[in-house]
Each structure stands twice: as C-alpha cells, then as structure tokens.
Amino acid sequence: MMRWLLSDSVRLGRIGRALGALTLIAVLTLVNQKPPVVEGLDPWFLRLSIALALTALIAANIRALGLLPRAAQIWAVWVELFLGLMAFFWSFDLSFAFIARKIGFLITQGVAMTLYISALSILIATAIALVGAVAKLSRNGVIYGLASFYTSLFRGLPLLMQIYIIYLGLPQVGYVIGAVPAGVMALSLCYGAYMTEIFRAGIEGIPRGQTEGATALGLSPAQSMVLVILPQAMRIIIPPTGNQFIAMLKDSSLVSVVGVWELMYLARTQGQTEFRHIEMLITASMIYWLLSIGLEYAQGRIEARFGRAHVR
C-alpha cells in the first residue's frame, strides 16, 4: 500500500487533492447551519450544493494562484485572506459611525498608554535579562541561586496572577503602588525572566576562545562581555527577543484588569454604553495587529544590521 502510494508522485498528488476536496466539502456541508430556505428543495441538498460550489471556487483559486510568480503569490494570498477577514467582520453588521466616533480616543489614550507601558517594560526587561543572564552564568552559588529562583518563579506564575499579586499584594506590606507602575513591574519581571534565558543561551553560544582571546589581551570581564561577547551574541539574541517584544505588546492588555486605561481596557469599556462591544473589540484587535506588524518590520531591519558585520 505504502509502496503503491509513494511510487508515483503524480498519482499521490491527485489522491491528496481529491481527499482534500472531499474533506472540505464534508466540513462545509456540516458546518453551514443556516442555509437559505428555498421552497421545494431538500435543505441537505442545498447545503451540499453550496459546499460543492465553494470547494470548486477554492480549487479554481488555488489553480489560478499557481500560475503567478512567487512574490505575486504571496501578495495575492495576503490580499485574499485580508478581504476574507474583512468580509467576516462585515457580517457582524458593524456601526462604522460608532467606530469613527471612538477611534480617536482609542488611539490618543489607549494606544499611547499601551505603547508607553510596553516600551517601558521592554527597556526594564532587557536590563533585567542582561543582569540575569550574567548571573546565571556565574560560578558564585549565591548569585546563581538568586537568578535561577527568579527565572523559575516569574516564568512559572501566570502573568495575570503576577499583576494581581503585585497590585494587591504590595500594599499589604506597606508599599502602595499605582496601577500603571504595578503593570509595568509585572510585565518587566515576567518578560525579564523569559529574556534572561534567551540572553543566557546567546552568550553561551559564543565560543570560549572569544573570552580567552579578550582576557589574554588584558580586557576585564565586563569589557570582554560588552565589547566582544554581547555584540556577537546579539545575532543569536535578536530574533527570539523580537518575538518577546511582540508578545509583550499584546500581553500588556492584561494590565487592563487593574483599571489602566490602555487599549484593551478602552476596547472593553467604550462599547458598553451603546452595546457596541464587537465594534470596539475588532477595532482594538486591528490596532494590535498593526502595531505588531510595525515591530516585525523593525525586527527585520535590526537583524539585517547585525548580520552585516559577519559577511563571509
């Protein structure tokens, strides 16, 4: 059976496509719970017909895309899926007038606060990660113990819990803390813990000979780290760190639970008075996506910059 399947790639492709089409037809038939009612037609027949038509459309589309060059394919897929997403949102019967009325405030207050919290937390988390990584590579047991306890605890607790614990718990021991500082502190500590591991792996990825070469030249441990090891480790560190930045941007929405007026909080509250929740949630989602795309772009630029010094 296996041999029969693998012996002929054309046949295998046909079988694969046929199976894919059948699955798609079956799923579309079963999932469609609200087919249009047409007198004298069996509803199941109608569902099946719609599924067949859709499947034929998708198949034709895939075939047409196959004729394009690669770059055009990528663009076409993005445009099609984006239009599909828009059509999906359209189906909610959104009030664009309401969105237009609120979007200014979502951006000036919500996006501004989200960016402020994220940027500040990213900066602090990076500083923590640098110190944490060096501590985790330390031969001193006390320092290693501190660093490993920290990463274990803050990677082990849900971020939401950390926000609550810091905001509600610190006042218990006498430190009253505002909602924004509490949010920034929780995000910094949590992401600092993840990034500590990323930085540590990056530093460990540099061969020992580099440190020895620097030491033999008389450079101090701190100079070796900053001038020799870190610039090389950056290449290893930047891609996963960029992912952390993007994740942090979205996780900053969790601080809405302590009442910080950032994007998520506004998205949840602005729609309440007029029962326009979906409008606000979709708008905020699109804004988060746009911001992430911006970060992805920045990440690509930085990677290109740090890659340049290593021309082969």
Binding site: G209, Q210, E212, G213, A214, T215, A216, L217, G218, L219, S220, Q223, L227, V228, P231, Q232, A309, H310, V311, R312
Partner: protein, 243 residues
C-alpha cells in the same frame, strides 16, 4: 640560571579536580630568551602556557612574570604578555583594524588615532596592512594568524606566548606564520612557544623543554635535544615525530 629572569615557575602544581595536569614544574626564562615547549598530546603544554598569563589558575607553587605574581596580579601581567592561540580567536564582528585597536584603546587608554597608528604599524610588519578593512572570516588561516600576532604586538608585550600557532593551518600557510615569528625572535622578543615545528625550534630556540604527563622531563639546547635526547620518552617522541 640567568641573571635577568623574566618568567619564573617554582614547584608549580595544577590539577583539574582529581586529575593532576602539572606537577613539580620549575622553569626560568630570561629576558630575550626563546623557549620551545614540546611533548606528546595531553602532556600539559597548553595548560603550562595558559598558567603563565593566568588563563588557568594553579594550586601550588609560584609563577611570576616581570616580578609580578600570577594569581594576584593577573590583570597587570596580561597587559605585558601577548598570547597567540592555535585557533586564532580573532573577534569576527570587528574588522582586522578593529581587532588590533580594541585592547590599546580600552586597556591602555590610547586615543583612537594613536591606537589606529599602532595597529597599522604592526599590521604592516606582519605584511597584512592591505587587508585592514576586512573581517577575519574573509582572510585565509595564515593571514588570520598573522593578524592575531599583530593584535598581540599592539600591546607592546614583554613576552609572547604561542600555543601551537601553526597546527590549525594548511601546510602551505605554515611558513608565512613561522617567518613572522622568526623575525620577532631576531628582534629580541622573549618567546615561549608550544610547537612541533622542529625547523623553527632549531633555527630560533635557545632551549627546548620536553614535557610528558605534566612534568618537565628534559631541557636542552635544540641541537643537543634533537640529535641526542637523553630520556627514553623524548627519544620515543622524536622517533614518532620524524616518522
């Protein structure tokens, strides 16, 4: 031995955990002297040379360079001792010039202009000035090792340590590196070289130190050592080397 010792090792013992890598090492190197260290693999040659600039700590005995005690004044010693590694250990993210300027700028506190002038002078001396703007990965192995030598010389060291500087090179590149080292010796640099290049040892060395299992087994001028080794271990080793 000599009236003017630069390096002294006295009853040095070094172990990695339970494994004894060096024992009873006593050795003096005079200013301007060239010493070649050889011996079978695992005999402790690298460990010995790495103890002399504090890359490895030692447990017993004393090592001094220019009167400074290793284990106590490692920073000061390293500023005056250059080291060349088998695997070059150039910094891949810096240009050739950047590699040579780093320590003069950051350790000696020279200005950029001064550091660059020094770097260019030594790169010229090892015949590689025209590659100054390139990155290490763009150079051949022999060129990289010559850069590594220039980088060490930029610190104006009193002593140069070499740990098998030609072992990682293709045969046709060995000579260009040995030529640079020979020139350096002619100019009176104090050198301790771990190498199995017998031609180099015979032409340049004042003394050959033969090591086996963490001990110095034999010390002799190169002519005597290569023609009539005293210990059976050295005889065996040389027979294999010639083979």
């Amino acid at each position: 031995m000599s009236a003017d010792p630069l390096v002294t090792l006295t009853d040095v013992r070094k172990s990695f955990g339970a494994f004894v890598a060096l024992s009873d090492i006593t050795l003096t190197v005079a200013r301007g002297e060239r010493v070649v260290i050889c011996g079978p693999s695992g005999s402790g040659k690298s460990t010995l040379i790495r103890c002399i600039n504090g890359l490895e700590p030692y447990q017993e005995g004393r090592i001094t360079v220019g009167g400074r005690l290793l284990g106590l004044e490692d920073d000061l010693v390293r500023r005056e001792v250059g080291m060349v590694f088998q695997s070059f250990n150039l910094f891949p993210h810096l240009t050739i010039l950047g590699n040579c300027m780093l320590a003069p700028e950051w350790v000696q506190g020279k200005s950029r202009a001064e550091a660059e002038a020094t770097a260019r002078r030594y790169l010229d001396r090892v015949g590689i000035l025209d590659q100054a703007g390139k990155y290490p990965a763009q150079l051949s192995g022999g060129q990289q090792q010559r850069v590594a030598i220039a980088r060490a010389l930029c610190m104006a060291p009193r002593l140069m340590l070499f740990d098998e500087p030609t072992s990682a090179l293709d045969p046709e590149m060995v000579k260009e590196v040995l030529d640079v080292m020979t020139d350096l010796a002619r100019e009176g640099m104090t050198m301790i070289c771990v190498t199995h290049e017998m031609g180099f040892a015979q032409a340049v060395a004042d003394r050959v130190v033969f090591m086996d299992r963490g001990r110095i087994v034999e010390e002799a001028p190169p002519a005597a050592f290569f023609s009539a080794p005293q210990s059976p271990r050295a005889q065996e080793f040389l027979a294999q080397l010639l083979h």
